[in-house]
Symmetry: D3
Subunit: 251 residues, 6 copies
């Protein structure tokens, strides 16, 4: 069960409102790396995760992300509440949709659940979450570089900090499952190709821990699957009608 | 520069074509966890990653994913090339769009770049990739559970295996950067809240490595942000017109 | 600030799990008329609405919708937790994505903020909300018709009931603003055409309160805008090159 | 059956072309509150509405909205036909796509039928339509504030006026069904909770017509649904593996 | 200016309603190759096309497509108006959304203007239209193969026929511009590579009119662009930190 | 099987980086007419096309389009690698997402497979491809008009040139099938209406090759389908309740 109190989770202050920057902030309200994505991803995961401890952690963090979403929304409200301050052509999103946050990213694209990565297995979920936090952190750093308002920077730095904390929590939970540095999980056994790496992009090649040591290196991979079976397509035109002729097989 | 040879990377065989299962396979052709997403995500990352070794690795794996996409497409072709085999209502995607693969998921939703997670920093990219591989592996396991055709299972097991290998490669690259088990990256220093965890979903609470040890536990978090600033909205109706009265503050 | 407790807002019971029906239920979890849309629409509105009473009401209802979302998610979890109960081809969403709710509608399309209707003015918002509640109620009725599990019906009936209550609340708030039955709001004065109705779809015509009384009826509207200005398009081919000739003007 | 005449429904004049403003106008051509959405929403409704009078009204208004769409398209054409007038970076939509209207909103997002709200019941449809007209009116007011071209303002004021008229028509039709101020419709009887309102967002609470009078007020709602049933997920890792321990129940 | 008459453009009759087939028909109402796409594509083109004859043709055909859209909608209405006829699980779209047409494709995905191909140049538009008609024809053939109701087949055959007619019209208009068989149009002169074809997919090679005659054939293309410039990315981690070493250049 | 070499297919040089222009270039990387759409469209077609010659051609061109995608990506990288060069508000896409290409169009909308046009029949595919090439060429011309950097213009002119070449190849293949100027293809015979054209948009009428000669011209089309069957909708309110009365039939 959800509750709400009107007070904000943490302080949100803006010294110099800037509607253009408010439009950038939408990236963390209704964008791919934003707080709504994080909140919903973790919370939806909590329905299918069987481990009650991890389920509790997912819900704790999900609710915190809802609180962050509220803080980002408040930031956007404060940056846009005097929309006349600036040329309407400089912050078109708010000229068209009105002040305050909207569920779009900084380019005006609607939030979509295609951003959400979850399902079926707790290891998969936790790895998706570490990825999600990395994206969120990256966007907060990008935003901090685009403003010099001290209040805004303080709030954004707090939000960035919490992504680091959540990453830490997800890493520790994954490590508790033994899956922080073990690539395998699930019930299907890999086949013998699991130790091979392929040099499929040739020229300027490098060797590193990812294609050496226990991992074998195929420097010049060749096709082993043979020619594909000819297509049978009853909807297509019959036969070979375009008059082409086969050239001598080049390989 | 891209090249192509007609032969397949690895063998693809289908004993008993099943157009309904072919529709499921679309999940890994044009779906959120599919090969197109992986191929494009890694390849797009390679443009902004400065480390030439990791760049090479990203391109090697991206090209392998294109080869896997081709193998999944071939599987779908083989499962659907005798579409008359089955009631058109059982595999509507192919009845409407024709045989072979299409750029949609198993529910018919068009592939979207909203699935792709990349940008700005190599650590962010590598974490996103470990997440992506976990999702791909999960879907392959789901698919394997839905068929009993030996040829199909063999191909899908190979593809699942390679996701494990790629996870291994990304983990080793991330570990080389010291970021496999370090939650922090980037240039913005976290604030003092980085060590706190919040018990925001109460009841049925658990403690584990993610909210104990070096991580402090706030068992009953309270709002510290105060009431939000009243909204100023010149487009809205003026004043308080709906005749409500404030109740005694309940907290 | 958001809080959460593990207990559900209201009871959720399922007697006979049916994964096919679980797929239908996604319509109210991640669909156009579902609880997520309602929760986010009302909550986002609360940022730009200046009237503190209506703002409080919007937040009260938004939080209730989050609780309903949780109940629908729990229903879906219960209907799908024994996925082996049924042919995988009958409930493909869960065969592919795993058990429990996902942020898609019953056809598998990702939730999109394009469903959300809000912005700029409290009257607009409240009218959008009455529309949203009508859609939600309609889908709950459709769902109730598709199941005969008593526990499921009881929960769905409760959720349908609350949409009626919310409609009542929005109507009363709108009536408090004098805008429940007054078509006009905002600051731009309508022009003289405001009393005219046009019979633009002719044949089988009807008169009713919507095109009689104070509303004038133009039975056979004619164009009053003249011919459009010729297009100037420097990117287009020059001149009239396709050899056509003008026919005698037919009107 | 649809017909068309080349003459415009009503005059469209532009004194000072401004491609930047032309981009804003796309909001009412291919945007969420625009004329295409209105036209298609009402027209699609007309297929399932059984009342022949309301069906006639829906088609009359739908056709008028197509005429408005044509007028908005003409406005955009006139504002963009001299695209060289302005820096290409100021109106990127037309620099990329060419002059004239396109089926995108002012941020360049493609029109989607996710904007359309209809189905199953005439009361639901009419309420959706009153909501749609409110959104359209709001955007026209926003546009009028962003230009000072007299011809453009005159056309936009006419289009805004007609949204008021349509609202009036939909209100009268809904009132004829007795559903303008009656929250209930359909065939499923609400349960006993229909008279309760919940104070779920606490602090800064208000009472108004929406949570007083016949509507009871639950000032401090508590969960009545009990703890959710433990999740059973055969795809998830087995058991409780992360080493967490349950804390003393906090409530 | 648009007009409408209640009578249908051409007869629509259904002998044996089949809601499952009604769901397939959505492909031509709200799908990628459907009548809405065609109607809107041609009509939007008419705003920027300067040739008044071709503009007239585009509008004539666009209006016919609106009439076809109405006929397809009527077909869907007739196939679904007795929804109780069939198991709700067999036609979930109508169980959830109600009877009659909706603006989605046969898989339930919302119509999107991303289907529409237009802009900037009449030759581009006409070529896009010939492509659009080919897709529409193909889907009508697919639909005809999925039903044996004589009335439905007759209507669908008429609609297919008209796509052939429109193709003929677009071909004749394009031929009038001299661009039916001339690959070039526009104002930018091609460079010297215009006569070369590249054998980039090797093995199973063929020669035909598309890579012989006046077109030169490069049987084994080599990269001529050199190595890409090293990426400079201030957001990325500094230096080469992952410990990899360069391998001897393999080419 | 796909291979890759690090060297670029053709040279890519930028003299004066301009991040604003880099944002425009996204139109051909992740936009509707861009290289990704072309590459994937042709390659996906190759799975269902039975003619081995045309299949080979489709794959040859698809791979070339992947190479062009790489070149466009390199152009974007070069235009954005010194992002500090310019006001962050002038190139918001890269300020938010980091330097280099992303899978979005110039307005920031995610690439979607809804852009892709393919399926079921080789004639349909080839016509779709001629349309696709026309769109790509048009956008390259638009881009060339927006820059004066010689290196950029040279690369874009090459890419435009290749679209002309591909158009030529598709035209020759289609001509080999006898379908470049024959509107008909497939297995369903058109009905007798195939020779009629309808003057449905009246006023300012023209005659040309598209509605004369062998094509008959119906100057004033009338409805021949009769009134639609009354809707039966059990979910709707019963009877005619809104009190309207029928007017004397106006036609």
């Amino acid at each position: 069960m959800f509750y709400h109190r009107k007070e904000l989770f943490r302080p949100v202050k803006v010294g110099s409102p800037d509607a253009r920057f408010g439009q950038f902030l939408l990236e963390q309200f209704g964008g791919a790396t934003g707080e709504l994505k994080a909140a919903l991803q973790y919370w939806v995961q909590s329905f299918h995760v069987t481990d009650p401890g991890i389920r509790d952690m997912l819900q704790d963090i999900a609710i915190e992300e809802f609180n962050h979403l509220e803080m980002v929304g408040e930031l956007i409200k404060l940056h846009t509440s005097k929309i006349d301050q600036t040329d309407v052509f400089a912050a078109p999103m708010f000229a068209m949709k009105g002040i305050g946050p909207h569920l779009v990213n900084s380019a005006g694209e609607c939030w979509t659940a295609a951003y959400v990565d979850e399902g079926g297995n707790v290891v998969r979920d936790l790895r998706a979450n570490i990825g999600a936090e990395a994206g969120a952190r990256q966007t907060y750093e990008a935003l901090i570089k685009c403003t010099d308002d001290p209040g805004t920077i303080e709030t954004l730095t707090h939000l960035l900090t919490r992504e680091v904390t959540h990453t830490n929590m997800f890493m520790k939970a994954l490590d508790g499952l033994g899956k922080l540095d073990d690539p395998f999980f699930g019930t299907v056994e890999p086949d013998a190709s699991v130790e091979i790496t392929f040099n499929l992009s040739q020229g300027g090649d490098f060797r590193g821990p990812w294609n050496s040591g226990s991992l074998k290196y195929d420097a010049d991979p060749q096709p082993k699957g043979g020619m594909p079976v000819p297509t049978i397509n009853s909807d297509d035109e019959k036969g070979t009608v375009a008059g082409e002729k086969k050239v001598k097989e080049s390989a």
